[in-house]
């Protein structure tokens, strides 16, 4: 737990990140936006998977993104993380346009994601899954020392595993974890890259009720230090977590607002009733 606190406090701007994620920038009364998309569009041939999506996410917020299947939620994440190059539009992260940068560069700008379909290193241990992610920021080209000689990397990996509730499972093969544990490992891998913005793609998919509760608690805990975008089909989860919700439909922003506003919005009700 000692390392855990140390790691947190080493991050710049905590816990004041809510107000001032960009050190040295004068604080305004409204929270600064950490992420802003302007006219983000992705076309696959004639089909617009995303059409002119503009949204602003203040630093420190948990933003829910919902919408029917095929609304463009995963496409939106793929653009943010560099897997897809947007056809047009800008993605301003921390004051810098990151649209079209490759995934490894975006990761280094401190955006991390977890995947809808579990995406881990199945043949490696749980610790190694997280250690390799921590290592991506330190000593990653070192060739002549054993990887276990770098205690700093291992310590931060263990701290992350404690955070996501996998302490004690370090030496298990990732493939042997239960589904719920693998989903949390997925979040752990993302956290280990020390992100400022974390994109969670259906983090509770396929989880039992108890596991879902634990994961919601986990997300609340880590949200103290991060800005989080969360795509989720479980309405209870997303309404409970998010301060603001953006609804996508056919690649366009249908509505934007607090959970209460979204639930009361007739257009949103129409979309969800139709599908």
């Amino acid at each position: 737990m000692a390392t855990h606190t140390r790691r947190r406090s080493e991050r710049p701007g905590e816990p004041g990140a809510l107000l001032d994620p960009l050190q040295g920038v004068p604080t305004l009364t409204a929270p600064l936006s950490i992420l802003k998309t302007e006219g983000l569009t992705v076309r696959f041939g004639g089909l617009a998977a995303l059409n002119n999506v503009s949204l602003t996410v203040p630093a420190g917020e948990i933003r829910g993104i919902i919408g029917p299947n095929g609304a463009g939620k995963s496409t939106f994440f793929n653009c943010l993380t560099g897997v897809l190059r947007p056809t047009s539009g800008r993605i301003i992260f921390n004051g810098e346009d990151i649209a079209g940068l490759p995934p490894h560069t975006i990761s280094r700008k401190a955006i991390a994601r977890s995947y809808q379909i579990t995406n881990i290193l199945p043949g490696a241990t749980v610790l190694e899954n997280v250690r390799i992610a921590s290592q991506s920021r330190h000593h990653n080209w070192s060739m002549l020392r054993h990887h276990r000689a770098y205690a700093d990397v291992i310590d931060s990996a263990r701290a992350v595993l404690a955070d996501v509730g996998l302490a004690g499972k370090e030496e298990e093969l990732a493939a042997n974890l239960s589904h719920g544990e693998q989903r949390n490992l997925e979040i752990g891998i993302a956290l280990a890259t020390e992100p400022k913005l974390l994109c969670l793609d259906e983090p509770t998919a396929g989880m039992s009720v108890a596991e879902t509760h634990a994961t919601v608690d986990l997300i609340r805990r880590i949200a103290r230090d991060l800005t989080i975008l969360i795509v989720e089909h479980d309405m209870e989860v997303v309404m409970g977590l998010a301060r603001t919700i953006t609804v996508l439909n056919y690649g366009e922003v249908l509505a934007d607002g607090t959970p209460a506003e979204i639930q009361a919005n007739p257009r949103v009700q129409e979309v969800y009733l139709k599908t």
Binding site: T81, V83, P102, P103, H104, S107, R108, A112, R113, N119, I120, L121, P122, G123, A124, E128, R131, I132, A133, Q135, S136, R137, H139, N140, W141, S142, M143, L144, R145, H146, H147, Y150, V153, E171, E172, L173, N176, I189, A190, A192, T193
Partner: protein, 324 residues
């Protein structure tokens, strides 16, 4: 399906080093006890094992199958030939240096293009590049000697400025053994290093490795270069042992054999490729006495049976122990 393997297979480092020492002593003693033919055979196994181990960096640790190792091996041979034919007096260490530069350079060149492709496309492109090198070497007779290759005399075993002596089969064996042991320990350390863990992460899940911030192509290029350097070293040793460099060794069939050594011995173990090389060469030696030029038929049948019944190779069962 609840069978979880024991949480921690406690890597018994002691057992590993005992095995390492025993095999080392046997290999050191080999030239003292074996008749000349088998003595030479043991040296050859070490050279081919080194080539196969270099390929294991890619096949076993990075998840890339290279069919281009004949080119790196061959360029090591021709690099050594260049040093031995152009510089007087011929120097052993200059031959090693030239061979490494030629093979490493070729590896970076091939990797720069081939690493843009994945899986079978990577394998095919390395094969194409190695065949390009083959055609150049085969046809550029004025420089490479074309079909006949190049012959030269063996350099002396020397510690520059201090001591030198002619190679005997025994001292050559020990020289090769020394190079192989140093290479093995170096590659083993590299595969355990942070860099090596990135390679294994690429093997396990390339998109994920990219997503956590690794420039995957760069790691692959460096992996191919390292692999090419050790393949080139094997080529240098083979050239010095046989006092020639020939285009046959650049031909892709050699690359195929290298992959077979890996599959037979156990990929991702580094020592498996040596076992695979030894097994294959012994098999060929034994069977060719009965089947003459048709020896490949029984070899092929045995290989097929091994892939079916021992898919992880002879030493594959040690894989987790060998990668602590």
């Amino acid at each position: 399906m609840t069978a979880r393997p024991a949480a921690r297979p406690t890597p018994p480092a002691v057992g590993y080093w005992i095995g390492f020492t025993v095999v080392g002593i046997l290999l050191v003693a080999a030239p003292l006890v074996l008749p000349p033919f088998w003595q030479r055979f043991a040296t050859e196994i070490l050279v081919w094992g080194l080539l196969a181990m270099s390929s294991d960096i890619l096949i076993g640790y990075t998840g890339m199958v290279s069919f281009g190792h004949s080119a790196f091996f061959g360029l090591g041979m021709y690099g050594a030939a260049a040093a031995l034919l152009t510089v007087t007096p011929p120097s052993l260490w200059l031959a090693v240096l030239y061979g490494l530069v030629a093979a490493g350079g070729a590896a970076v060149f091939v990797a720069y293009f081939a690493t843009r492709l994945r899986d079978i496309y990577f394998a095919i492109s390395t094969l194409v590049f190695s065949q390009i090198f083959y055609v150049i070497i085969f046809t550029w007779t004025e420089v490479t000697g074309g079909e006949n290759g190049l012959t030269f005399s063996q350099p002396r075993l020397a510690i520059p400025g201090l001591w030198s002596d002619r190679f005997t089969p025994a001292t050559f064996h020990w020289f090769v053994l020394g190079m192989v042991v140093v290479s093995y320990l170096l590659v083993r350390r590299i595969t355990q290093s942070p860099f090596g863990m990135v390679l294994q992460s690429i093997r396990e899940n390339e998109p994920r490795t990219r997503a956590i911030g690794y420039h995957v192509e760069r790691y692959k290029i460096v992996a191919v270069m390292l692999s090419g350097l050790f393949a080139g070293l094997a080529g240098v040793l083979y050239a010095i042992q046989n006092k020639f460099a020939a285009p046959d060794f650049v031909f892709f069939v050699v690359s195929g054999e290298v992959v077979i050594f890996n599959v037979m011995g156990g990929m991702g173990t580094l020592v498996g490729p040596f076992a695979g090389a030894a097994f294959f060469l012994l098999l060929r030696e034994g069977l060719s006495r009965f089947f003459t030029e048709y020896y490949l038929i029984p070899v092929g049948i045995i290989f097929t049976l091994m892939v079916m019944f021992v898919p992880q190779g002879l030493l594959g069962f040690l894989r987790r122990r060998l990668n602590p």
